[in-house]
């Protein structure tokens, strides 16, 4: 089958904020192929977590959703809770940022990993327990047999994350959504969890939708990346291409703002980081046109009048911008973490 596993079309999500109704997602469109690894990157408020919650049907009841989320021929927007329950933990798995709050503190680790098996596969108690053990070993949880009867608070952060991954994988989902899975973990553990995810994706052929604010995590983990800002996907393409071209001014700003390990000093002092002027506007303050307009150093009048259409800047690489940055400038080394000082054409 060559049709995409997940197709999101013009997804809009409206929320009630303290300052009135606003759109958290303003027309998000993307697709995920079977077995593909895709990243959603952006800062707080861009809508990346909201997108994941929309796919899982976990938005607050007051959310107003329109557009389409097609999962393997099934339309999820407007689907019944019963239909969504059939999918969650079964064909679509999700892991979250804070494993301590995502896991139930009152149930053992083994019970929580076994729960989707009992729910969706109607497995009996001992069969699901045996399978839970296999899953915990699969995610390389040390002393898995003893841990079956442990409670989440008895495990470290990295171990709890492994438990969450085991539970999310229990029914062999076609798609795993991971929302900031390593942000709360120590650096060395982060690397191990990312390696584990890569290994599981390779072995099972499942697709991965990875959400993170961390450019390095994306560079390492996903084939394709989508940059989100103000409830829209503003740039998308193969990871290497996006990180090399930095076509959308926001993407470029995001790269420039990141301190680079080992960057050279000038006159014994590290150079200032290039920052993006202003700050992320609140949802209610987003303009009709491009959400980045007020912070963009390339803005023109047309930017504010309407949402820019997508332009292709390279094979399979699209940017939602009237004046994206052109081909990579001469004289600069390519690479994900080149700090860009000053304005670049």
């Amino acid at each position: 089958m060559n049709s995409p596993l997940l197709t999101v079309t013009n997804l809009r999500v409206g929320l009630n904020t303290s300052r009135g109704p606003a759109d958290a997602l303003r027309g998000v469109t993307f697709s995920v192929q079977r077995g593909e690894t895709v990243g959603l990157i952006g800062e707080s408020g861009c809508g990346k977590s909201m997108t994941a919650l929309a796919v899982m049907g976990l938005l607050p009841p007051t959310a107003r959703v329109s557009g389409s989320i097609q999962f393997d021929d099934q339309e999820l927007v407007g689907a019944t809770e019963a239909a969504l329950c059939q999918l969650r933990g079964n064909r679509v798995g999700m892991i979250f940022q804070e494993p301590m709050t995502a896991l139930n503190p009152l149930h053992t680790v083994g019970a929580q990993v076994a729960e989707p098996l009992r729910q969706h596969r109607q497995m009996g108690k001992s069969a699901s327990r045996a399978e839970a053990l296999r899953l915990l070993e699969r995610v390389h949880l040390p002393q898995a047999a003893q841990r079956l009867d442990a409670y989440p608070h008895q495990l470290s952060g990295g171990q709890r994350q492994r438990v969450m991954i085991a539970a999310a994988l229990a029914c062999g989902p076609d798609l795993l959504i991971a929302d900031e899975p390593t942000t709360a973990l120590d650096a060395t553990i982060q690397g191990e969890i990312l390696e584990l995810l890569a290994e599981l994706v390779n072995d099972s052929g499942m697709a991965l939708l990875l959400i993170s604010h961390d450019l390095g995590v994306m560079a390492q983990s996903v084939q394709r990346v989508m940059v989100m800002y103000g409830g829209m996907v503003v740039e998308s393409g193969p990871t290497a291409s996006v990180f090399k071209r930095l076509a959308h001014p926001y993407t470029r700003g995001l790269f420039g703002a990141r301190p680079r390990l080992g960057a050279a000093s000038f006159n014994g002092v590290k150079p200032r980081l290039v920052t993006i002027a202003g700050r992320v506007p609140e949802l209610v303050d987003l303009p009709v046109g491009c959400g980045f307009a007020d912070r963009c150093d390339r803005v023109v009048a047309a930017c504010r009048e309407a949402m820019p259409a997508e332009i292709s800047v390279a094979p399979a690489h699209e940017v939602r911008c009237i004046k994206p940055h052109g081909s990579f400038p001469q004289g600069l080394r390519s690479g994900p973490f080149e700090a860009h000082g000053g304005k670049l054409e």
């Binding site: 982060q190 690397g191 390990l261 200032r272 993006i276 700050r279």
Partner: protein, 314 residues
């Protein structure tokens, strides 16, 4: 060179009296000079936050001492300590928890000031807010009216207002988005240049530490299980890391292909083990481990000039 700020610490600090005791720090010593930045890098359980609290004299060490400007903090009475606090201030990680939500910003920022006249106090508040890029009019607002990045600026203004010689910053930008983080990091750099304040900068993020503590004369110390295992100027540390744990940290930075440490990725058990009382606490995770490592704890010794490492094989 005037050693205006000096810290000595040779402590063991046990956190719990009920058995088993947790040795949060197992003998940490360093000096910090005027205007110098010392970065502390470590993961959970390394003792870095305990170190921050001891430096700020929020807790007393089990043994050892903390001295600022030649004055032993732990020997001071409570009121003398309050007076001395003018010289050293702290910025915390959580921009939401570190500001009292029921006080206006002006009052929060002015809190560390010793008693002074109302107009002089107002001048100092305005000066501090302007220094961090906020407006004098922001003094009348409450913390919830500000974003995370702005709240961190308020916390920094509060730390600056007494014109301290030392600021201890414990993960001050970890909770901030990349673009906001950049603004705050630039601010810290400007403040260093402008006020000549020394920094003890704690972070798990190597790139951030390298940026803040990367000027000439700055150093970075890597902590593991309550000890400093490596210390050097940041350029030396990040290009010529000697200790296997430092190399593991560098290798673990996602997407960090630019700096190859040549260290095999340590696929060792992630769970925290009880650090052995004898021998090197990193031994169980170390690719270079030998018998000697299990019996003999390596001293933090000088490799060259100002590059220290605690490893038998560095």
């Amino acid at each position: 060179m005037h050693d205006l700020v000096k810290h000595y610490r040779l402590p063991r600090d046990s956190l719990f009296s009920a058995a088993p005791t947790v040795q949060a720090l197992r003998g940490v010593s360093f000096n910090l000079r005027t205007s110098q930045a010392l970065g502390i890098v470590g993961e959970s359980g390394s003792g870095k936050s305990t170190l921050a609290r001891l430096v700020m004299a929020l807790e007393a060490p089990t043994s050892g001492s903390v001295s600022i400007g030649g004055c032993n903090l732990n020997a001071l009475s409570a009121s003398d300590l309050r007076t001395a606090r003018v010289d050293f201030q702290m910025v915390f990680q959580d921009p939401y928890g570190s500001l009292d939500p029921r006080q206006r910003v002006g009052r929060i920022v002015a809190e560390p000031l010793p008693a002074m006249g109302a107009s002089e106090q107002q001048t100092r508040i305005d000066e501090a807010l302007n220094a961090v890029g906020l407006r004098a009019s922001d003094a009348d607002k409450y913390p919830h009216e500000f974003s995370g990045g702005q709240r961190q600026r308020i916390a920094i203004a509060r730390a600056l207002i007494t014109r301290p010689k030392l600021i201890v910053a414990d993960e001050p930008v970890s909770a901030l988005d990349v673009s906001v983080q950049a603004q705050v990091l630039n601010l810290l750099q400007d403040l260093r240049a402008h006020y000549g304040v020394a920094f003890l900068f704690i972070s798990h993020d190597l790139a951030v530490v390298d940026h803040v503590c990367g000027n000439n004369g700055d150093e970075v110390a890597v902590m593991f299980a309550g000890r400093i295992v490596e210390q050097a100027p940041s350029e030396v540390l990040f290009h010529r890391a000697a200790h296997p744990y430092t190399r593991a940290l560098m290798a673990a930075v996602p997407g960090n292909d630019g700096i190859k440490t040549g260290a095999p990725s340590s696929k060792v058990a992630a769970h925290a083990e009880e650090a052995s009382l004898s021998g090197c606490s990193f031994a169980s995770r170390c690719p270079l481990r030998q018998v000697r490592c299990d019996t003999e704890a390596p001293e933090l010794r000088e490799l060259t000039g100002n590059h220290l490492a605690a490893c038998h094989f560095a």
